[in-house]
């Protein structure tokens, strides 16, 4: 399975771009235009990148799309989900509040390899 990896380089620079400490702690659902964007492309039956690393407490925005058919992007342990739709970018603001390794997976049945379509999110 082809998988890429990305590390969200969220340092003081990006925190400063958020404007304030409180902005850096904004709750999920608030789409901060200054937050770092993590682009995720779903495609049968993998995600690119397949491994994502984030920093606890640092807000980002997932920008999710599909290269083929309708997929899902679901992080059940963190209460995060979005549809991955061909030709459309879904913005999903997210601030990880706990460290660990979590599985994100497709929750929109997409065919034979659906059950194997997953990736790993690490929160440091």
């Amino acid at each position: 399975m082809r998988r890429g990896a990305v590390t969200a380089l969220l340092c003081l620079t990006s925190l400063a771009a958020c404007g304030s400490e409180s902005a850096a702690r904004h709750t999920d659902g608030v789409d901060d235009p200054n937050a770092t964007v993590i682009s995720v492309v779903a495609q049968r039956w993998q995600y690119t990148p397949g491994e994502i690393t984030l920093k606890k407490g640092v807000p980002i925005v997932f920008e999710i799309t599909s290269a083929d058919v309708h997929h899902g992007f679901n992080l059940p342990e963190l209460g995060v989900r979005a549809d991955a739709i061909p030709g459309q970018k879904t913005r999903l603001p997210f601030t990880p509040e706990k460290t660990g390794t979590f599985t994100f997976r497709c929750d929109y049945f997409c065919g034979d390899g659906h059950e194997d379509m997953q990736g790993v999110l690490t929160v440091e």
Binding site: P76, E77, D107, H114
Partner: protein
């Protein structure tokens, strides 16, 4: 898992191996005696208790007809016919057989999907039992919202009564997001409305109704709403498939029991970090595959569950 029933403990409590008394149920029926009423003639559960009669049925699940990976199952066309032959050769026949979903392995090709359903249906038609019930799995119904499935096997959700027990077949697979949906939940409420709170109810479904392991797709998105509807009824038992292994779990007073697949086994969440099909072991062919016999011991207020191994392919 917190509410999981320990099988060994159940076996110990039951006093003998192979048969698991999984649920105390049917207090309202106990002591009412039995009758010879047939399924068609049985009064509705919760209204007339004279229909109580012990019987057994079989649960077959996750046959995945059309599956092709020789490293996981080098004889994918052998198990189901072998089980059917075993059932037909038995001296005692079940009252009915229920297939709890994933009858066929999924495919994008509509023609192939229908061909697999044609072949599966032809095999199931060879079962020499009074009644066979079907329900879809996501492999059967999610790609086309159940269109092909309905042409071959009928409705996606329904209910029926058998010898004093009310059986409800729920569809939590034809939605690509594993939703039962508000319409079906409203139907469920209506379907159960005529029952007493202590009426015996068996729910048959494909996916687990609670969050067994959402990261592995082992959940129903709105399963909690379904359980809310079921919760006022004191004697509810759920039999399901999907996870390709035996598992017992309680949500409050509702017992949930999954059974094995007849095509390939999956690991337990506790022993595997990733959900991958368990490779075929030539030294132990058919290991982890099987089906289930369920004794509805209505007059004794319980069910007995016996897990049966898949027979060898040359039966």
């Amino acid at each position: 898992m917190k509410n999981e029933i320990n099988r060994r403990e159940l076996l110990r409590l039951a006093g003998f191996g192979g048969l698991v008394f999984a649920s105390a149920a049917f207090p309202g029926i106990a002591g009412c005696g039995s009758s010879t009423s047939s399924a068609k003639g049985a009064p509705a559960p919760g209204t007339t208790r004279g229909a109580a009669e012990d019987f057994f049925f079989l649960q077959l699940s996750d046959t995945h007809w059309g599956f092709a990976d020789p490293t996981v199952n080098p004889e994918p066309t052998m198990e189901l016919p072998a089980v059917i032959a075993e059932i037909n050769a038995a001296n005692v026949r079940p009252d009915f057989i229920v297939f709890t979903g994933d009858l066929t392995h999924t495919t994008d090709d509509v023609t192939v999907r229908r061909q697999r359903m044609t072949e599966f249906k032809a095999l199931a038609d060879g079962l020499q039992v009074p009644l066979v019930k079907f329900m879809p799995g996501e492999h059967d119904a999610a790609p086309d919202a159940g269109a092909a499935y309905k042409d071959f096997f009928g409705e996606l959700h329904y209910s029926f009564d058998h010898k004093g027990i009310h059986f409800v077949v729920l569809d939590n697979v034809s939605s690509p997001t594993a939703m039962v949906g508000d319409d079906q939940i409203a139907w469920l409420k209506s379907d159960l409305a005529h029952l007493d709170a202590d009426a015996p109810i068996v729910v048959l479904t494909h996916r687990p109704l609670w969050d067994l392991k959402p990261e592995w797709d082992w959940a129903t998105a709105d399963g909690a709403k379904v359980l809310d509807v079921l919760m006022p009824y004191r004697n509810v038992v759920v039999f399901f498939g999907h996870i390709h292994q035996e598992l017992h779990h309680m949500t409050g007073h509702i017992a949930h029991h999954s059974t094995r697949s007849l095509m390939f086994a999956l690991p337990t969440p506790e022993t595997a970090g990733k959900k991958v099909q368990i490779p075929w072991d030539p030294a132990a062919p058919n290991a982890g595959l099987g089906y289930r016999r369920i004794e509805a011991t209505v007059t004794a207020e319980n069910y007995g569950i016996e897990e049966l191994p898949a027979p060898m392919g040359d039966v």
